[in-house]
Symmetry: C2
Subunit: 410 residues, 2 copies
């Protein structure tokens, strides 16, 4: 059993019910003994859905399933399991997905095409859909709307704490709610970094608009984090909008001026969840923000920031509390993006370490050392060629990462 990350939030956020969302959890014994590993969620009729998925060329069977359904924009249920990713399971995996959707549809009285599925865990082991059979009817008989921490906990694999966040927005004088839960710890890198994250709102949002907002928001949240640069076959982010908030006119057009408030809340919610995933990075002891400025474009800034964030040498230096800005130079250099070596500047916190392509003459080793001892470290890099900027978040690379991943499967 892994001990709770030192970077974890003090406690699970206080999530109130979101009208039209009910759920339950159970222990199906897919991989773990003595814990819940299945989450079943039910949504009110006319719930809309949007999704963003892994760009892996070897996506898991549930990802294929959701991707095929997402354009319909309608959802009545979500089934999530931990312990087996149902990835790289061939024909068997596709059968398991179809069978799972049918069983959920039977238990909740909806169509299989309204059932979304997500699985996380080991790759390559056949998932036996029959394992859900015993518990789905049972869960369906005791759905609740307020046990969000249990819902998030049922999705955990190497996570050391359940992840949740909530926001409210005023639409037409009515407070609408956005709740989110996520899981993720290793195999975290953009294209989607999520592993699994789900957002639930009682706001009425048309599916195309919800899709547009979700995609945009992902760019600066889940696609701006990395733990180990490895991209999961199962990354899935789904947003469900039940429309059950009373008296709110539907959000349909991007130009609707209420959209801005909703989008800001969604951005903030996803960023919160994404940060929680990084804070639970396998073996992490440091939470690191990397901001690149002065790049040729935002895209170029992102590439440079990710090169730094994924560099094992940078990450081990942070683990060792070593203000080794030379490795930042290396990582900027290897990114292959425009950067002016002789105008490069690097800060750790508010201490400028490098300036105009050299060690900063005024740089204070003690001040830098003090910053490196903090659990949260901000690195800023100005590459001196333009106005592009982007910020990403990562964690350090510790011996515990190696230990956790050296014997995860066995």
């Amino acid at each position: 059993m892994l001990s709770r990350s030192p970077l974890a939030p003090a406690r699970f956020a206080d999530l109130a019910p979101a009208a039209g969302v009910r759920f339950g959890t159970a222990a199906a014994g897919i991989k773990y003994a003595d814990r819940e590993d299945v989450l079943l969620m039910q949504f009110a009729p006319r719930t809309t859905v949007a999704g963003v998925f892994t760009r892996s060329r070897c996506a898991a069977a549930p990802v294929d399933w959701c991707r095929n359904l997402i354009e319909r924009g309608q959802a009545r249920a979500l089934l999530v399991n931990a312990g087996n990713a149902n990835a790289f399971t061939g024909v068997h995996g596709r059968k398991a997905v179809r069978m799972s959707a049918r069983m959920v549809a039977d238990a909740l009285g909806c169509r299989p095409s309204e059932v979304f599925l997500a699985s996380t865990g080991v790759i390559g082991e056949p998932l036996e859909a029959q394992q859900f059979e015993g518990c789905l009817g049972d869960i369906a008989g005791r759905l609740v709307d307020d046990r969000w921490e249990a819902a998030a906990a049922a999705m955990m694999t190497t996570d050391t704490y359940p992840k949740g966040a909530t926001r409210t927005v005023d639409l037409d004088g009515v407070p609408v709610r956005l709740n989110g839960i996520a899981k993720g710890s290793g195999m975290i890198a953009p294209d989607m970094a999520t592993m699994l994250a789900f957002v639930f709102t009682d706001a009425p949002v048309a599916a195309p608009l919800l899709q547009r907002l979700l995609k945009k928001s992902t760019r600066t949240s889940f696609n701006a984090i990395t733990v180990d640069g490895d991209t999961s076959t199962s990354d899935t982010l789904l947003a469900f909008a039940t429309g059950q908030a009373p008296g709110v006119a539907p959000l349909i057009e991007p130009r609707d001026r209420r959209v801005r408030a909703f989008a800001a809340a969604l951005d903030s919610l996803l960023l919160d969840l994404a940060h929680q995933v990084v804070r639970d990075g396998e073996g992490a002891r440091k939470f690191v923000e990397i901001e690149v400025t002065g790049a040729a474009s935002a895209r170029s800034a992102r590439t440079i920031a990710m090169s730094v964030a994924n560099s094992p040498l940078v990450k081990t230096a942070v683990a060792g509390e070593d203000a080794n800005w030379g490795r930042i130079v290396m990582a900027v250099g290897k990114a292959g993006e425009p950067a002016d070596r002789d105008r490069l500047a690097i800060w750790f916190g508010d201490v400028r370490m490098a300036h105009k392509g050299e060690r900063d003459p005024g740089y204070d080793e003690d001040a830098a050392a003090a910053i490196m001892r903090r659990p949260e470290i901000a690195v800023r890099i100005d590459v001196g060629v333009g106005k592009g900027r982007f910020t990403v978040w990562t964690c350090d690379l510790t011996k515990d990462y190696v230990a956790i991943n050296g014997d995860y499967r066995s």
Copy 2:
């Protein structure tokens, strides 16, 4: 002091003199106490030179120096130091380079523009060229042609053993020699992966031909290895041809049928050195060959192979002796190259783990476990879309890598 890698060759290769190459080493105290850290080499008049360098956008000052000189194709000397990379040192670094070249030229009686330079070690610390002053004249007075192990040892940083290799080829009935030395252990990834490697031959090879052969050979040797995916600011591979082998007509034209034999020896020599670098990967306990077949092109195969070789999750699984082929699927998927999930096949050694997009029904867990316990592991991946193939070499990611890099600078 790091203990010798368990993957190290039994002993340093037996390098005989290469006519026209003399050298010496000394302790300049640049960073290390009680060891030699400077290597000075002298070449006969009319020695030709070719080079391949890091593609880092933040290349070190000596790299800039060599890149500017390489097109002239003429070399009389090489100065290498360990402990300070003279990288990201701005104007100061450029001055140090010019001053070093002048001091070498004075000591050996040649022009500064015939002096090649390479530095390895910490980034961002100013290098004081004066530190060489005391020892260059001293070394120049006692040059030898047979202490190759000492030459290789003087370049070491986190290396746990000196690296050398030798080949001979028959040209016009005369045996010509190719000797190589290299250093490298961390910050090893393609574009050049070398850190530093030098080849010396007494064959007469025109500089343009030597450049062409060196570049081609690098593709499948130093650019086909990775330790940590981090690219150095200092990677430098230089080849020097003295032409002192008696009675051999110059190699000038690529079509000269003697070129094939010379090129084959060069390929073999560089691959030997590249493998030695991987075997000394920081903290490495396993030497891993990753062969990708069935790709859309050789380039695509290389991208996929490097995605697998650089995956922290694959590398930690190898460290844990876990035949976790699911992580191979993940790394193939994240590479973004054409691959047919449902035709993918994966072998560890001769055990086929996955076949047609599923776990191989005949797969034997015990046989796979036995392969993972070996110090050398071959992984083959067929991605099922074409005829492209490429092979790369890497090592595992262990707690020792984290330990070595968590406090390298301090």
